[in-house]
């Protein structure tokens, strides 16, 4: 009973936050409400017994997206006044959305209650996959090609955003937030390491660990720390692409390691080495995801950062 009450309140809260975020007059309010929505969404995923999604939603949906929205707001030179839309202009999208919602809901009610037959196949293959957590096995062994392409997508998001990114204005940091972010940094690294390691047997893994690490690094960068962390630094570039690079090179090595070499199968990990390979790939993926998200959110440091002699300059 109490759980039902909790679920009802959670659903109502989600709807209310989503509506409030859309209808809010000020963009800053909308972003704050959106972050709150992300946190509630993470709770909802946890209630739906999808802890992997909950972790990712909390770190990426609520944390980094919120930071991204705030930095976009801060970059805006002119104060945007939202256009006042006429009623027909508002009505058409609403009708469209309602129609689609109705259609999808009507279809979803027909979903068969049986679970996918793939679950049994996954459980059978888990023994040879090198990890014991099915989500990690799917992401990094059964369907690793998808994960590799998703890492490329993330890298591309950074490349695309860099082309249109405005100059970051140097800002002064608040001493309390500075010392607080420094205090947090070791904790973030420790937690990210734990998430990465835990991914082999329970919820966790590269995306969550990378997002957490990125959150810590973004806070430090917003406080004018880590000035070497910029795209013009060769080593940062190397580490940013290392997620994909190590993935591909490992797969090529795995082909060479396969005895017999009769038929080449792309991305097949030898069962006895799979655990080590997955950990290696995940480690570099974590670093790459963290760096990509950090550079994406925090942008290039202002050119004064190069004076510290850490970067190669812009």
């Amino acid at each position: 009973m109490s759980l039902l009450l909790f679920d009802t309140i959670l659903c109502l809260l989600l709807l209310a936050l989503a509506l409030a975020s859309i209808l809010s007059r000020q963009l800053a309010h909308a972003v704050i409400l959106y972050i709150a929505f992300g946190l509630m969404m993470a709770l909802a995923w946890a209630r739906l017994a999808a802890p992997d999604l909950a972790l990712a939603e909390a770190a990426i949906g609520a944390g980094l997206t919120g930071a991204l929205c705030f930095s976009a707001l801060a970059h805006q030179q002119i104060q945007l006044k939202p256009d006042v839309l006429s009623w027909p202009q508002r009505l058409w999208p609403a009708v469209f959305v309602l129609l689609m919602l109705g259609g999808v809901l009507a279809a979803l009610l027909q979903l068969p209650p049986t679970a996918s037959q793939l679950i049994a196949v996954t459980q059978a293959g888990l023994g040879n996959s090198g990890v014991s957590h099915p989500v990690t096995a799917v992401l990094l062994n059964f369907r690793s090609w998808d994960t590799l392409l998703e890492l490329v997508v993330l890298l591309l998001a950074l490349l695309g955003a860099r082309q249109v990114a405005p100059e970051v204005k140097p800002a002064t940091s608040w001493s309390l937030s500075l010392s607080w972010s420094r205090l947090l940094a070791p904790m973030v690294i420790l937690l990210a390491g734990y998430l990465l390691w835990a991914g082999a047997s329970q919820p966790g893994g590269a995306f969550q660990a990378g997002a957490l690490l990125a959150a810590g690094a973004v806070v430090l960068r917003l406080n004018q720390q880590l000035s070497w962390l910029s795209w013009s630094n060769f080593w940062i570039r190397l580490l940013t692409v290392s997620g994909v690079l190590v993935f591909v090179l490992t797969a090529l090595t795995a082909i060479l390691l396969t005895p017999g070499n009769t038929d080449v199968v792309w991305l097949r990990w030898p069962p006895q080495l799979a655990a080590g390979i997955i950990l290696l790939v995940e480690l570099f993926a974590t670093i790459a995801i963290a760096l990509t998200l950090t550079v994406l959110v925090a942008g290039e440091p202002a050119s004064t950062g190069a004076e510290l002699g850490c970067g190669e300059g812009v």
């Binding site: 996918s116 090609w145 591909v248």
Partner: protein
């Protein structure tokens, strides 16, 4: 061999990010090696039949399946060759056009995304490829700088909406059947409300991404704002990716009743695209917008062929569909490169800039006219082959006078907008003076695909055979 085609562009793009200085060299090298490998793959497939691979060595259902049939390998070859050509053009003009170092790694990733898409036979993997393709296309459009931000952002938002619609459809299908592999799914397919909803959602998303009428609104602005080599790649290749998935869905998955219900709609959309796209191309005052609207119109042929194929199940329509795709890719690459070269040299965006271009830049204008001939469907070009297959198919069905008339009308419209540019170019009384001496090499490069599209007529018999038996 498929692995090489996938890994090589990816690795070279990564190295280009690390060492931007050698990026052009790496890009050209990769594209030429990939072209050779793709040619080998095509020969292999035509001798031994289609090659299927289950990735990561897991059983079917668990693993992602790839398949290289003759259509896929033909499209891969086309992708690699166009990449090579556009890379050469971009290298030849990079001092003048200031394309930016960002172009090279992005074009490598575009090749990866397209190759992965042509090969994939897994609904979720196709989604990932679509997403990759969408983001790389937006990043390429935004290479033009500030003026391209608005079209690029519109493109990004619409393309994300399209991807999400497709993903929702995939999620519904996975919930209903619990498999993602297209061949396995096809064997379990039931034509009920659930699968129809999923198909409709996916079709909506894919039509938005492929700029098929009436969801084409974003295309002219985005393709016109991009730099010339990028517009060539986007128009020739990127919009064909979603179209390919659309054909996969409707030809391999959908049940007979679903197909019968949707076929007239597809044909109708194709018809509207042909007529309205042609009229818009005729009316627009800007040169690149004209070429972009012509893409909308020409995609109408593919859509019409798909609709007729679904309705009559006649292999000639399948051949027509893919011949249109091939011929349009080659012709449109030439059109964008030639028009880009002319507008850059003569300085101006309007079609009136082309005045007297037959005198000042005869080679580029010749390339445009030759490619235009294929767009119209003049014999003996690739466009003519496609149109002939379409007409022959209609003739064999008998009593399809309405469609025959429509095709004639659409041909007249495309002739009108091509000749509008060509006639202006032959107006030598008061030619627009070039800003600097026209360069020969880029004009020759623009001419190459146009010659290739006319050469398609020489290989018409094997091409027709190959595409007829394939038909997906």
């Amino acid at each position: 061999m498929m692995v090489v085609l996938l890994v090589l562009p990816l690795l070279s793009a990564l190295f280009m990010l690390l060492w931007p200085r050698i990026a052009p060299l790496l890009a050209l090298l990769t594209a030429s090696v990939c072209s050779l490998v793709a040619l080998q793959l095509l020969l292999l497939v035509s001798q031994q039949g289609s090659q299927q691979v289950l990735l990561a060595g897991w059983p079917s259902g668990l693993a992602i399946s790839l398949e290289a049939n003759s259509l896929s390998s033909l499209l891969i070859l086309l992708t690699a060759l166009l990449q090579l050509l556009v890379g050469l053009y971009a290298f030849a003009t990079h001092r003048r056009d200031k394309l930016g170092a960002g172009f090279w790694p992005l074009s490598g990733m575009l090749q990866l995304g397209l190759t992965a898409l042509w090969l994939s036979r897994d609904l979720f993997n196709l989604y990932v490829c679509l997403e990759l393709l969408g983001i790389v296309a937006v990043a390429l459009v935004s290479l033009s700088g500030d003026k391209a931000i608005k079209p690029a952002l519109n493109y990004l938002l619409l393309s994300l909406f399209g991807s999400l619609c497709y993903l929702l459809g995939v999620a519904i299908l996975y919930g209903a059947y619990g498999v993602l592999d297209i061949t396995v799914l096809a064997s379990q397919w039931q034509a009920d409300l659930l699968s129809s909803t999923a198909l409709l959602l996916m079709t909506l998303g894919l039509m938005l991404k492929a700029a098929l009428w009436p969801l084409h609104g974003w295309l002219p602005a985005a393709h016109a704002a991009a730099p010339a080599p990028v517009s060539a790649l986007l128009s020739a290749l990127v919009v064909k990716g979603p179209l390919f998935i659309l054909c996969l869905l409707w030809l391999q998955l959908a049940g007979a009743t679903q197909v019968a219900a949707v076929a007239p709609w597809f044909a109708g959309c194709g018809l509207a695209a042909l007529l309205l796209g042609g009229v818009s191309a005729l009316r627009t005052p800007f040169a690149k917008n004209m070429v972009a609207y012509s893409t909308v119109a020409q995609l109408g042929y593919a859509m019409l062929a798909l609709g007729l194929l679904l309705r009559f199940n006649q292999p000639l329509f399948a051949a027509a569909l893919w011949l249109f795709v091939l011929a349009h890719a080659l012709a449109k690459a030439t059109c964008f490169l030639a028009v880009g070269e002319i507008t850059a040299t003569l300085g101006g965006k309007r079609i009136s800039t082309l005045k007297g271009a037959s005198q000042t830049m005869p080679l580029a204008m010749f390339a445009f006219a030759v490619a235009g001939g294929s767009l119209i469907g003049l014999p003996p070009s690739g466009g003519f082959l496609a149109k002939w297959a379409l007409l022959q198919g209609l003739w064999l069905q008998g009593g399809q006078l309405f469609w025959l008339l429509v095709i004639v009308l659409a041909t007249l419209l495309s002739a009108a907008y091509v000749f509008r540019a060509v006639v202006l170019a032959f107006n030598r009384a008061d030619p627009v003076a070039p800003d600097f001496a026209p360069r020969i090499l880029p004009q020759w490069l623009a001419l190459l695909p146009a010659l290739a599209v006319w050469a398609m007529a020489l290989y018409s018999e094997p091409l027709l055979q190959l595409l007829k038996q394939e038909g997906l």
